[in-house]
Subunit: 206 residues, 2 copies
């Protein structure tokens, strides 16, 4: 792509570094900004800069937060003895949206993935193990996505905390609510049969 303007070229090049945004899309976005008032570009740049400079991570659960300890960890009503292990802030948001979880979280910041060069030392695993060893934790819930990397990470952590006398659970895998059985893949359907739950549980409150 040849540009008639170095300024446009530079903006497009920087924009197309973002995942899923190619040169063409980047050019479309940049031209859109050109048509909008100057302030919009100013607001966007400033918001990104502020976010990148001032962002903090909760020193307890490592979630993204504006304060030293995030709102969830600072909430004394929540059950601090149950820790849900997730990959990143998006998973926290997804679980919070269900309104079904009253414990706290531990954000790993990724999954063990040799292909992408992510090893255990780059993730917030040691602080989780320490928490468990401190004896204040009653249950750990693994809520990583059910991929090769997720399972590897689960197992890596499990090996380090298996000797502690705590409950270690993982979120249930099974047929989505509202799904037809015939379209489910075999592994999911198989798991949902193996891990069947007492029928009474499905209509009684816990």
């Amino acid at each position: 792509m040849e540009f008639s303007s170095k300024l446009i070229e530079k903006a497009v090049n920087e924009m197309s570094q973002l995942p899923g945004i190619g040169k063409r899309t980047a050019l479309r976005l940049v031209l859109h900004l050109l048509k909008q008032p100057k302030e919009q570009t100013g607001f966007l740049s400033q918001a990104l800069l502020n976010m990148r400079e001032d962002i903090k991570f909760c020193e307890n659960c490592h979630n993204i937060s504006d304060t030293k300890v995030c709102e969830i960890c600072a909430n004394s009503v929540r059950n601090h003895q149950t820790i849900c292990v997730v990959e990143d802030i998006r998973d926290v948001m997804a679980i919070e949206n269900t309104g079904q979880y009253k414990g706290i979280y531990h954000v790993l910041g990724g999954k063990i993935s040799p292909i992408e060069g992510v090893g255990p030392s780059q993730l917030n695993i040691s602080s989780l193990v320490e928490k468990v060893k401190s004896g204040k934790v009653v249950e750990i819930i693994f809520a990583l996505s059910s991929t090769m990397e997720g399972d590897t990470t689960n197992f890596y952590i499990y090996k380090q905390i298996a000797e502690s006398e705590i409950i270690i659970s993982t979120i249930a895998r099974g047929i989505s609510v509202g799904d037809e059985l015939e379209y489910a893949d075999e592994i999911t359907l198989g798991r949902s049969i193996l891990h069947r739950v007492p029928f009474e549980k499905t209509f009684k409150n816990n």
Copy 2:
């Protein structure tokens, strides 16, 4: 969507103002920036700001340019008597890529579109009419996309310059090179029959 951080929320809100980028995509992009070195966010913000602040438009053809007169208009080898009328810089880039055009351009900056509230006065039409009336132009080539808005814009300009003694042409519509006839729509196929060209022209150079 509820965010645990106002900084993230603001960045996501600004990002999702861009066309085709929803809140979820914006969050993905913002989290990507968080994982990259701080410099990348700095470069991106700076490139966008510089682009928006310092961008110039060629005073002759209104194309985006870093200088007062763009490279194409400043090039004395090009034929300044032939003007190709296009919508924006993307069309200039597309035509330049063909390597088939040696004239200069006139960038309208959009198409007449009552639905989007774009009238003739918001486009660079009057300066085009002036150029034609100055008598230095021999041919005008309309190269707007073949939509209702494009045709309206073509016709609006045509009405104002029809009395000048210049050649007014429009780019050929027809079956794409490499396309099968049976899959072409009727209107395009019809046009390509009506506007058939002497066979000799297709293998002789001009």
